[in-house]
């Protein structure tokens, strides 16, 4: 199996590694980079738990090969907080009980982060649509939705 060298940025840090062409980006992030906050739940692009942000767009890392990420910038859940301090979205997940087992959570945080950066004032319906790319079997999505909506409200206040 041929090994290729890739150079990419993960959470602001440059990574240079050799990867096989068939290595999934999700496996590379977890096993190659040791960032186990990105989870794998289906490996066929439905559950959303492997979602990361690649060059400013939320992407399912199980549907991408690591070699395809060569030269790109990746953000994972580990990049959302500084020194263990939770960011606003994370804080609201905690406050609104937006997670139980937490397995789906990193993927949802990444999707929501990406989405809110592009749609600062989404409707509930739009948020539900955005969430439809994620499976959570613990929460019934109620706390998740509340947490994101709370973040939207807070963002509005900071802007105005």
């Amino acid at each position: 199996m041929g090994v290729h060298q890739v150079k990419l940025t993960i959470n602001g840090k440059t990574v240079v590694e050799g990867v096989e062409s068939r290595t999934l980006l999700s496996d590379f992030i977890r096993d190659g980079c040791g960032l186990t906050g990105t989870h794998v739940g289906c490996e066929h692009g439905v559950c959303g738990s492997c979602t990361v942000i690649v060059d400013g767009a939320a992407v399912r890392s199980c549907l991408m090969f690591a070699v395809q990420a060569d030269g790109l910038e990746i953000e994972t859940v580990e990049g959302l907080s500084q020194n263990g301090e939770l960011g606003p979205l994370q804080k609201n997940f905690k406050e609104c009980h937006g997670l139980q087992c937490g397995f789906c959570t990193p993927g949802i945080l990444m999707s929501a982060t990406d989405y809110l950066s592009k749609h600062p004032e989404p409707t509930t319906r739009e948020l539900k649509e955005m969430l439809s790319g994620h499976l959570c079997r613990c929460t019934g999505y109620d706390g998740i939705l509340k947490a994101i909506q709370k973040t939207v409200e807070e963002n509005k206040e900071t802007i105005s």
């Binding site: 490996e43 905690k94 009980h97 087992c101 397995f103 613990c138």
Partner: protein, 807 residues
């Protein structure tokens, strides 16, 4: 300090889970020589294995071994199970496969990619046999046999007779009966099974890390299968488990399979299940056919019930089955005062994935026919379903209520809860709206369900699968034991060790709340360790996360262990301060005197003295602060001679009202409003409580509308991806309103009852009732699930065709 029990505190688990620092099974470090497994699985539902050629697979660079059932068999006994039928269940097929997805060989290789490459190259020759998947046909004399040595596909059969059923049926004004089918579905935690197994030949012992959450009675089942003394099977569960809802109890056969693979390969072996494996070959809920008959008076009063239930446990009966059939035995008559009951219970095997625990376990299968028949009674008698329910509900003054089959309902106010549901959902108003809508050609319906939610299983209930004589020949089982250890270290900080194996329910948080209250210290100072380790944790056969047993049992063990610590600290305080123990109390992490306000001794000093200066302790007292409590409830007795059994410890109540609209063109069911009223006794943390309810309800919704592990009639598996097996996503979630009433349980020290499964039990039938109510004018009735647009559309068109013919 304020009480924290009962308040909505946020969770201690969250910080790590929100920052990617959770430690799930796939995140824990493994020894450098660890190999990875891929499993070759049967593509046939029923076939003889003629040969397995592994030669090509062995040539793949990086492969360390290919192991077949024949090699593994030498190291194993079949798993033991609680029925007398001699079903030989191994974690891998030996000479015959009995369901699609059954393991046939294990590849052990340097990484998973290589293992999968090799798996492709294993050549298995099969001789196909006639498959059987139908629950009733599998009971036929001439049905193809799954297990020749058993002689039939029936794994267990028992009949129960309580009260005077014949008389009830003779005296009744009418008999209402129907057949119902509850489907096979799953819970699909987003994290799949994961196992790291290691065999150490110098001491002949196995260590297995797995996202298994009990019941830990299965530890002895596994040790028995591995032919080793049970203390040489060490099971360690990771700090975090990515959901289970019962399904991960089914990791146990794979734990044993990987254990033996490690032994044969000579290195630790890791396996993370993939999604297709999970859907086809992990575990699932039990599908059931029920024939139900109710003896009823004109006024809607039910005098007696007969239920013939047939549970399909798939290709092999395995622990904890046949528990699906018996978990709800005590509450078979649900929320109703029905003294005469006949149960005819069968457990059958077919060429499908073996079953096991699932959220609601047994409840949804029971309440689907029971609550459907209540509505059918109302329709037959031209009564409002509310009136029929009210006529039969157990009255508040009847608590504690003894059910026909031996249950002791500890507390409740069912009438009030139902009324609250009707008021919150504006039942009467909706009925008017429904009338008006009908005039406009729109189809509205309202469904109700009143169910009893059992929690904290009595370990004795499963023995009801045996006859009283068979039971007498074995050792009796009882209790529902859970254990916890509370300790204080030399600096006065608290560690708590629990064995409830949480899978996302926030046990660490609630444990900290309870201990904080008892010891009057800030909850932030309490460290809770939930990683159960069978070699070092306090645990019992009942330990684990199932039957909603934390609130009723786990919390009780924590509370009473903390009380032991408190007692010891009080004794130390009394001795040190020279004040009687009764005069002392705890506040703000200190011991104070009721009579002398100048007395104040920090708890950490008291605890510290037990470590640093044990000679200062009262005469005869042990040094250290380390207290374990094993809690069981007295009411968890073994079944008696008459087959009376109190199968659970506490019994909560759920009253649901759901309204739907059905699109006549497409058959699509839209849920307008879902109202659910819960009585789970004293609530320990309302924030977590509501989270559990939402999750359970949405799983119930999935069961009602979307989820099914489907097989064709030839036993081929049809739903191997998340594109075929549909789970509810955010846009499918309706308006949900949750309300609580609290009638504390007299059974548990904190008055709490388990919860979180209630709506998984109630939602399928509540929604089915709503749909039946909506389709009543068309003569359509619902007796199977899920209610896909396809199914509704078909039912509607069949009825239309029939009606046209009639005209």
């Amino acid at each position: 300090m304020k009480n924290v029990i009962g308040s909505s505190v946020t969770r201690v688990e969250d910080a790590r889970l929100l920052t990617g620092q959770g430690t799930y099974i796939d995140d824990i470090g493994v020894p450098p020589n660890t190999a990875h497994a891929a499993i070759v699985r049967s593509t046939y539902p029923h076939a003889i294995i003629k040969s397995i050629d592994v030669s090509e697979a062995l040539l793949v660079p990086g492969v360390k071994g290919v192991i077949t059932g024949r090699e593994i068999e030498a190291y194993l006994n079949p798993f033991s199970v609680g029925v007398s039928a001699p079903v030989n269940y191994y974690p891998i097929a030996i000479d015959k496969v009995r369901y699609v997805g059954e393991p046939v060989a294990v590849i052990v290789a340097k990484d998973r990619y290589v293992a999968e490459d090799a798996a492709e190259l294993v050549r298995v020759k099969y001789e196909p046999l006639q498959p059987i998947v139908d629950i009733e046909k599998t009971m036929d004399q001439d049905a193809p046999l799954l297990h020749e040595n058993v002689g039939s596909n029936i794994a267990n059969h028992r009949s129960f007779h309580y009260g005077d059923v014949d008389r009830a049926f003779n005296e009744a004004d009418l008999i209402v009966k129907h057949k119902f089918h509850f489907p096979k579905y799953s819970a699909t935690p987003v994290e799949t099974y994961g196992i790291i197994a290691q065999y150490e030949n110098s001491s002949d012992r196995y260590t297995i890390h797995a996202n298994f959450h009990g019941p830990f009675i299965i530890q002895s089942v596994m040790a028995g299968a591995l032919k080793i003394p049970s203390n040489r099977l060490r099971i360690i569960i990771p700090k975090d488990i990515g959901g289970s809802y019962g399904i991960k109890a089914g990791t146990f056969p794979y734990m044993v399979l990987l254990a033996v693979a490690s032994r044969i390969a000579g290195c630790p072996v890791k396996w993370i299940e993939d999604r297709q494996e999970h859907l086809s070959a992990s575990s699932s809920g039990t599908d059931r056919v029920t024939y139900i008959e109710a003896a009823v008076n004109e006024d809607g009063k039910v005098l007696g019930l007969k239920m013939k239930m047939m549970d399909n446990v798939g290709a092999y009966i395995r622990a904890p089955e046949p528990a699906c059939l018996y978990r709800t035995h005590a509450n078979t008559t649900g929320a109703y005062d029905i003294p005469n009951l006949k149960i005819d219970g069968y457990v059958v095997m077919t060429n499908k994935l073996p079953t096991g625990l699932i959220r609601g376990y047994g409840g949804q299968e029971l309440y689907f026919p029971l609550e459907r028949i209540m509505q059918m009674i109302a329709f037959k008698l031209h009564l409002d379903p509310v009136d029929v329910i009210q006529k039969n509900l157990i009255k508040t003054r009847q608590f504690p209520y003894q059910t026909a089959s031996g249950g002791i309902y500890d507390s409740g106010d069912y009438e009030r809860a139902l009324q609250l549901a009707l008021d919150t959902g504006r039942y009467k108003e909706f009925r008017k709206k429904q009338e008006e809508a009908r005039g406009k050609g729109r189809i509205f319906g309202v469904g109700l369900a009143c169910i009893v939610e059992p929690s904290g299983s009595n370990m004795g209930y499963i023995t009801i699968a045996l006859t009283p004589d068979e039971r007498a020949a074995s050792l009796p089982k009882s209790g529902c034991t859970e254990a916890a250890t509370v300790s204080m270290d030399p600096m006065g900080f608290v560690n708590v060790r629990i064995s409830t194996a949480p899978t996302g329910q926030g046990h660490e948080t609630v444990t900290a709340q309870i201990v904080a209250d008892v010891l009057q210290i800030p909850k932030e100072q309490i460290n809770v360790v939930a990683e159960l380790d069978t070699s070092t944790s306090p645990w019992s056969i009942a330990s684990g996360s199932y039957s909603s047993r934390f609130a009723s049992l786990g919390s009780s063990a924590v509370y009473l262990a903390a009380q032991k610590v408190k007692k010891k600290l009080l004794q130390i305080g009394a001795h040190h301060l020279q004040v009687p123990e009764e005069d002392l109390y705890f506040e703000n992490a200190a011991i104070l005197s009721k009579s002398d306000s100048s007395i104040r001794w920090p708890l950490k000093r008291a605890a510290g003295s037990a470590h640093w200066n044990p000679l200062s302790l009262p005469e005869g007292m042990e040094p250290g602060i380390y207290e374990t409590y094993y809690y069981t409830a007295k009411i968890a007795e073994p079944p008696d001679q008459n087959d009376l059994i109190n199968s659970s410890i506490t019994y909560g109540f759920v009253a649901d009202m759901v309204t739907v609209e059905i699109d006549p063109e497409t058959g699509q069911v839209e849920i307008l409003d879902y109202i659910t009223i819960h009585d789970a006794g004293k609530l320990l943390n309302p924030l977590i409580v509501d989270g559990q309810i939402y999750g359970g309800l949405v799983h119930g919704l999935g069961g009602a509308l979307y989820e099914e592990l489907a097989y064709d009639e030839k036993g081929q598996f049809l739903t191997g991806t998340f594109m075929d097996y549909l789970c509810p996503t955010a846009p499918e979630i309706p308006n949900i309103t949750i309300r609580h009433i609290e009638t504390p349980s007299p059974v548990t020290p904190l008055g709490a009852k388990g919860l979180g499964e209630g709506n998984t039990m109630s939602a399928p039938v509540a929604i089915a009732n709503a749909v039946s109510d909506a389709l009543k004018p068309f003569g359509v009735t619902i007796d199977s699930l899920p209610l896909s647009p396809n199914k509704i559309w078909k039912l509607l068109s069949e009825q239309k065709a029939a009606n046209t013919l009639k005209r």
